[in-house]
Symmetry: C2
Subunit: 494 residues, 2 copies
């Protein structure tokens, strides 16, 4: 801490830069509990805006929120064979309550399929009860050994959606619908472009039929899995006996037969991990950069003065400007930095570290001209603005910043993506070096996937959706050279 | 379930009525985990509106949200002597994580003073860092043996505010400020009048200097503690070494001395228990009644038709009315009940059970007259309304309902409150019978308080704030007959 002013640069050590910027921008802090973090107000304010935006999007599709218990009886986890295999090794277990040993230990939820579908079995009777569309905002615990702030912690905050449908196709459509919601949120709110697609068998959710994911490129060219949506088939419905009277049976129509069927489920989630993604997508060597739509404060006014008289005059004007910015159609989330123990320069530094998208510098000479100076956080460009036009100009600029941040991230990703024929040797060279998103062929064999992972640490992130596939699809498998059955996106990942 | 239509009445069995109405209005359900409930969408929707309103009120006072770990090292709990005594017996304890026995067991937070003040010790250095005003929305676990839906469950959702101040008086002012926020929220949003005041030593929070509370009367004349605000003094600051450089020291002024002091803390919380309070304050023998400001749906339109042609015509009109209600200044949260497998009568019954404040009945004959029929849930009064005036009329009516529900609850409480000289025998008779809020004298002795509790199960809910005290204060202690030093509010409680 000899020089408080300088962050490690991204080029020097991306990982050290990330930890420093998260701590110094006061997004989060280490806690006294191993692997658990504290989300500080600056970080939680971003999470609140993420929650609000996603929640509105979910509700627009008919989803309603509910809350299910934190504790899951250990036996529940075992009912779905793949699920328990995937999650049991990383659970936290409550063995004592109220001073007594429990008859059956309780697992702190690592995810809530089992407890939620046990309830669905009570609530769903008939096709009329379907679709059932439920979401929960909650904390979950996974006993990770190596943790990183936001990216991988023992406890994290997330939302988990859980739905039940009458048919496979409706469940599939729901899983895809939510994947689209996630993509739209990440692109339009986080300004973070993503590749969507299907996970391979080895990477899918424990207990799912199919897992879809959004994968984003961080500035070290590694992938971050930022959201997943699962078609669970009837796996959990069978395990928890979630059945319904079919419409045919209900109407006494033909094909009634027994007249009941298992429901088809989906589950889907995004978490506070996205905040880590935001930092690693947009941060630079002076701090984080928050896209305006997710910024708790969009614009900060820094008053400049040399004496008490100027101070009174400038602060009064600053308050008026802030009220003007906040009101009307612009509705800008603005604040005035009134701290009187810091120079304007120190304040600029502080707000740039914290990533506030726009700042207005306001001093006595500006006031004489009835203007302020706007400074963009993303490009650090300055421009004077007449105070009478400040609200409209700032709103336009914030919209521009939002778009430009997305465009810059997209350009960066595409510049670091590799398509077309590639040898295994070249692939290894890339993964040993700068890294990249590599689109290459895959024969469909888990053995080939595993071999590449062992040799290079790169994995198949997704089999990309059509809009992300190469115009000229790869013909042969990256690993074995046999005929490719799919194009795969390969990268190292968090 | 022989007759699905009838609830047990409040007069027959208040407790049975409560459980039935919570389950049948689909506010909550029992879960497979002992003592843990599921909050269903109807209940969670009320909680979301409670959260939004309170969160805005907290933020208006400068509070910011954050998130702290679920797990607390067992040793942390022990650092404040009274605190551990109060909470250790009812903790859930994680002894195993990731398949291994932990070196130190982790307690699932029953409340977060210890973990939060451990972080405050890192964050607070100087008087310039104060006041520090933090809130957290979270789940907590207390190992209760006898549980009731919403009122007392192993796990519940709440908010816990934690603040640090430079002086005792500032902390005291904060604790009182938030008590006022709670009172205002309960009166203006929940339409639930409360008595505020000070808890006695035997009822205060474990580790607090002073506890203030809001106490509401339920329809069985029992009290519900609906929110508490604690002045924690320097108890936790000493336990977790939360110190700051004082302003005098910072400025090198006189009285610097060592120049550091312990901070003064407050903590304060309300929980999903309030939903139980809402039900027991406003529910009647046909269902719950939600005050309009907390109702996820304020108005439901029930279309009436006899054939497909009428159906198409009425539904189209209903959608238009809903859009009209939702738009503009009225901004009414309205929905159309499109279910086609239920009669209008069955729908009325269902919405009355669920407590939606206002319903509009809309049929072909109404449409001929360009009108609908509005029915208040609280009084079940009907009135026709011209569709062109529906939005304004409905908004006015919803505001009236909100006020009337508060007035009715207040009148009910006052009619069941007893003031003035009272004998111990009469007091016991009241508590053995209908119950009441009894304002009686107290000598200040814990022994007198304990004796009354043992004999009647009634406790001192609070020593009421001045505005709730009797004009003619009681002169003698209810228990011992000695000179009273305070007026106390006595009642049986949840």
């Amino acid at each position: 801490m000899a020089d408080e002013q300088k962050l490690t640069t991204r080029a020097e050590d991306f990982s050290a830069w990330y930890n420093e910027v998260v701590l110094r921008a006061a997004l989060a802090d280490y806690s006294p509990v191993r692997g658990c973090m504290v989300i500080r107000p600056n970080g939680y304010g971003i999470w609140e805006r993420m929650q609000r935006a996603l929640d509105d999007m979910f509700k627009a599709t008919g989803v309603r929120n509910a809350y299910f218990p934190l504790f899951i009886p250990e036996s529940f986890l075992s009912r779905e064979a793949e699920h328990v295999e995937g999650f049991a090794p990383e659970t936290a277990v409550v063995t004592h309550g109220g001073g007594k040993k429990l008859d059956e230990p309780l697992v702190v939820r690592p995810t809530s399929e089992t407890i939620i579908y046990a309830m669905f079995a009570k609530w769903v009777q008939s096709y009329r009860d379907l679709p059932l569309l439920i979401n929960q905002w909650a904390n979950v615990v996974r006993w990770e050994m190596r943790t990183r702030l936001f990216l991988r912690t023992l406890e994290f905050l997330w939302q988990e959606g859980h739905t039940a449908h009458a048919t496979h196709d409706e469940a599939e459509a729901e899983a895809r619908l939510i994947l689209g919601v996630y993509r739209r949120f990440m692109e339009e709110w986080m300004a973070m472009p993503v590749i969507t697609g299907l996970k391979t068998e080895s990477e899918k959710f424990a207990g799912a039929l199919r897992t879809y994911a959004c994968e984003a490129m961080m500035q070290d060219n590694k992938a971050l899995q930022a959201g997943t949506s699962h078609n669970l088939g009837q796996n959990f419905a069978r395990a928890f006996d979630v059945t319904f009277q079919t419409e045919a049976a209900g109407r006494g129509g033909a094909g009634g037969g027994a007249g009941t069927d298992y429901v088809w489920n989906t589950s889907w989630g995004v978490s506070t991990r996205m905040i880590g993604g935001l930092v690693m997508t947009h941060g630079d060597d002076v701090g984080i950069r928050i896209p305006p739509r997710l910024a708790p404060t969009e614009l900060v006014i820094v008053p400049i003065y040399r004496n008490d008289e100027q101070r009174a005059q400038v602060l009064e004007a600053a308050d008026r400007v802030r009220d003007d910015l906040a009101s009307g159609a612009a509705a800008i989330r603005a604040q005035v930095d009134r701290r009187d123990n810091m120079t304007p320069g120190a304040k600029y530094f502080d707000w740039e570290l914290q990533g506030v998208p726009l700042r207005m510098e306001l001093g006595p000479r500006d006031l004489d001209k009835q203007q302020g100076v706007l400074v963009r956080r993303d490009t650090r460009e300055k421009q004077p603005v007449a105070l009478a036009q400040a609200a409209g100009t700032a709103r336009t600029l914030l919209d521009t910043i939002q778009r430009d941040m997305h465009a810059a991230a997209l350009a960066r990703r595409e510049a670091n993506s590799v398509r077309g024929p590639i040898t295994a040797a070249r692939f290894r060279e890339i993964m040993d070096g700068e890294g990249a998103f590599v689109y290459a062929g895959w024969c469909g064999s888990a053995a080939c996937e595993a071999r590449i992972k062992e040799e290079t640490k790169a994995t198949i992130r997704v089999l990309p959706d059509p809009e992300f596939r190469s115009a000229d699809p790869p013909q042969s498998c990256l690993a074995c050279g046999e005929r490719a059955t799919a194009e795969a996106l390969w990268a190292k990942a968090y």
